[in-house]
Amino acid sequence: MPSMWINSLEQLIRRTSADLPNDVEAALRRAQRKEKPGSAARWALDTILTNVALARERDAPLCQDTGALSFYCRAPRRFDTRGLTAAIHAAVRRATTKGFLRPNTVDPLTRCPCAHNLGPGAPVIHVEFERRRTVEVRLILKGGGSENVSVQFSLPDLRLKAGRDLEGVRCCLLWTLVQAQGQGCAPGVLGVCIGGDRAAGAEYAKRQLLRPLSDRATEPRLAALERKALQDAQKLLIGPMGLGGATTLLGVKIGALASLPASFFVSVAYMCWAFRRRGIVLDAAGRVVRQLYD
């Protein structure tokens, strides 16, 4: 793959690690206004917003956990994905060498670092083909604290008293937040999938995080659940960084997949406040023609 592709992808990684998207930052500002000056929650949000500005200004990682990398690509039909994969790998290698990414990938058996954040299954690259001329690449960096508290439920769940309906799903989401407190950095965002099999559900839940915070599910029942779960989440009073406060969650994004009659999975991808997602559109030469998030 020519170097233009590698450069553009390296810039995407660098920017994703350093520059929090506007919708997330605006939501954090709204949360900041709700906390009393002098409170622990306000201190946390003031620090968070100062940090967001510093990282952007310096082009340096927002969080030292530069996360697991998931690339979501859309390419023209018959596009050579081997070249794209090679370019992504080269870009990850460079971004690691330059310190935009921490050596953050280990061998699961020895726990020793994999060179340049490249290993079996790392980074994760999804490619879909469609009728188009350009290539779209979106990237999510998700830290370990937030990944560790992501969950999958199989309903009914007696512990939670969650049945096989949308009310049961709401229980799962609130339960997730209570378990996540202090571990996944709040206020975060939930990506949710109702249904699917276990693998597809987990993947689709994470994919919901590609949606901007301002949108709503197109299916009205899911949209209503998104709104209700978000309202209820704030009543838990877990607050920023689990220090207590008015904002525990910035958003809920729910999707649904068909499933077996016997199965009712609820998959939840918890994303921390350091919600690093960016995207670019590339032309055939690998030049960036458009940014996908502000």
Binding site: A40, W43, A44, T47, I48, T50, N51, L54, A55, R58, A60, P61, L62, C63, Q64, D65, T66, K98, G99, R102, P103, N104, V106, R111, C112, P113, G143, G144, G145, N148, L160, K161, A162, R170, C171, L174, W175, L177, V178, Q181, G182, Q183, C185, D232, K235, L236, L237, I238, G239, M241, G242, L243, G244, C272, W273, A274
Partner: protein
Amino acid sequence: MIKKLTYPFTPAQVRSLKVGERVLLCGRIFTGRDRLHQYLAAGRRSPVSLRNGAIYHCGPVVVRAKGRWNVRAAGPTTSARLEPYMASIIKRYGLSLIIGKGGMGASTAQACRDYGCTYLQAVGGAAQVLKDTVQKVCGVHLYKAFGPTEALWELEVRDFPCLVTMDARGRNLPAQIAKRSETMLRKLTR
């Protein structure tokens, strides 16, 4: 009021800290995460003296340029993962302070009371704000064995900001908030 504490952190200073107080740390602190805690709890010799010291749950981004280590990002990692090891490390090495995020469990809380240790919370994800307090990297240990993220970095900090959330008197803010949220959860899912 914001308290300033400078290394070495004396038992009297540590016992005076109360939950909810903000603290600025100065002097030497030591990073450590999963592998270091496992190593220390297994009874291996610590490469540095931890007596009256602070362990910072952190895996920094550090790059080497012109023969010097440069910290590029250094926020806290989740302390809860280190719960199985923390109490024995406090006891064995005479640790005064733990810095991390999210609070820790009952055995650490008990060890804090028994041995006069205090848990301080730094703001998770605030890697730039916190790295700015690092004046110097004074050394690195177990780098070869654990790699750069899990190694023990000796950092010289100035005015490192944190909040007391578990004190040596047994008060525990994360436990209070967890309890309240569990009560609310029961009400919301009845």
